[in-house]
């Protein structure tokens, strides 16, 4: 039973989080910052693109180090 639960959890982790958890965590942080900034003004649109510019090279760089 426990091994099936573990396999179920591992499947969903792999499905949603994928190869690098940094991407998922970074997206959550970027959206939280966007929500905070957007609640004060409507200029928070740039935060997610800025996060992509940081997260993508960071994640592929981590990928090259894992090999």
């Amino acid at each position: 039973m426990m091994s099936r639960l573990k396999a179920f959890g591992a499947f969903w982790y792999d499905f949603v989080i994928g190869d690098d958890w940094v991407l998922a965590a970074g997206v959550v942080v970027a959206l939280a910052v966007t929500a905070v900034v957007a609640s004060a003004s409507s200029t928070g649109w740039w935060i997610v693109p800025a996060a992509i510019v940081i997260l993508l090279p960071l994640s592929v760089w981590r990928g090259t180090r894992q090999r």
């Binding site: 998922a24 693109p49 592929v60 990928g63």
Partner: protein
């Protein structure tokens, strides 16, 4: 969101996943037993239909703000994952997806596995191989269809794009009876990654309360900008890899001199 962009994104994503599923199904069918394999394919498709029937109305019923935040965030994570994988492959850090090699590996494993009959299924191994292949590759497609279709308020078009891709790939697979090794999978993965990332960024930021300058037309800047940035990252990694390889080659000579 334009209907054309919705169709292209879902169609390409489905082609990529359908090619991978077809390789597994062909390996099971040609080496084991077609009847059990096809029962596995049918059962996998049925399970996917149940997922769509259960999740489809639930996703569509969510308020647009929540839908855009949650689903946009997931699409953004998916898109970045697809981009990451295709960039690592394009720059040589990860082996390209080789359908021919995967087919041969699956065939070898299928040949050595024992045969077992369970109920209506004559060959349980062929059944489970085909079932898992269709279900696991299809789940991501189902998610993309549901999220893109719901956000764009055009689920039928997303389903049509997915259906067209599956019919096309399955048709070619049946015709050639060989893995579809010539499909430029990595290039397609890159394009889908760009689209998922662009739409995910757009919707999730809107869901978080941000307002994009220019409204929907911001996507016309966002998608090409992400594609260009992805290509820049590939170029950077290729140069880095070449420099590392030259460094490796040069090291023994340096020692010798």
């Amino acid at each position: 969101m334009g209907a054309g962009a919705l169709f292209v994104a879902v169609f390409l994503a489905c082609v990529v996943e359908a090619v991978e599923a077809t390789t597994i199904v062909l390996a099971a069918g040609t080496t084991r037993q077609w009847r059990s394999t096809l029962i596995g394919v049918g059962s996998g498709l049925l399970a996917l239909a149940v997922v769509v029937a259960a999740l489809g109305p639930a996703v569509s019923a969510l308020p647009l703000g929540v839908l855009r935040l949650v689903v946009g965030a997931l699409l953004l994570v998916f898109g970045l994952q697809w981009l990451r994988k295709s960039i690592l492959r394009a720059s040589g850090y990860k082996a390209l997806h080789d359908e021919g090699l995967i087919f041969r590996t699956q065939v070898e494993a299928a040949r050595s596995a024992p045969s077992e009959r369970r109920g209506l299924v004559g060959d349980w191994y062929a059944f489970t191989l085909a079932f898992k292949g269709v279900l696991l590759e299809g789940l991501e497609v189902v998610f993309i269809v549901l999220t893109f279709g719901s956000n764009a308020r055009n689920l039928p078009l997303a389903a049509l794009a997915a259906g067209a891709a599956v019919v096309l790939v399955a048709g070619v697979g049946i015709a050639v009876r060989a893995p579809l090794a010539r499909v430029p999978e990595n290039g397609m993965k890159f394009v889908v990654g760009v689209m998922l990332t662009a739409f995910g960024a757009f919707w999730s930021a809107e869901g978080a309360g941000a307002t994009w300058p220019g409204g929907d037309s911001a996507l016309l800047i966002l998608a090409p900008a992400i594609a260009a940035f992805g290509l820049l990252v590939i170029a950077w990694l290729r140069r880095r890899r070449t420099a590392l390889l030259i460094g490796h080659d040069a090291a023994p000579a340096d020692v010798a001199t």
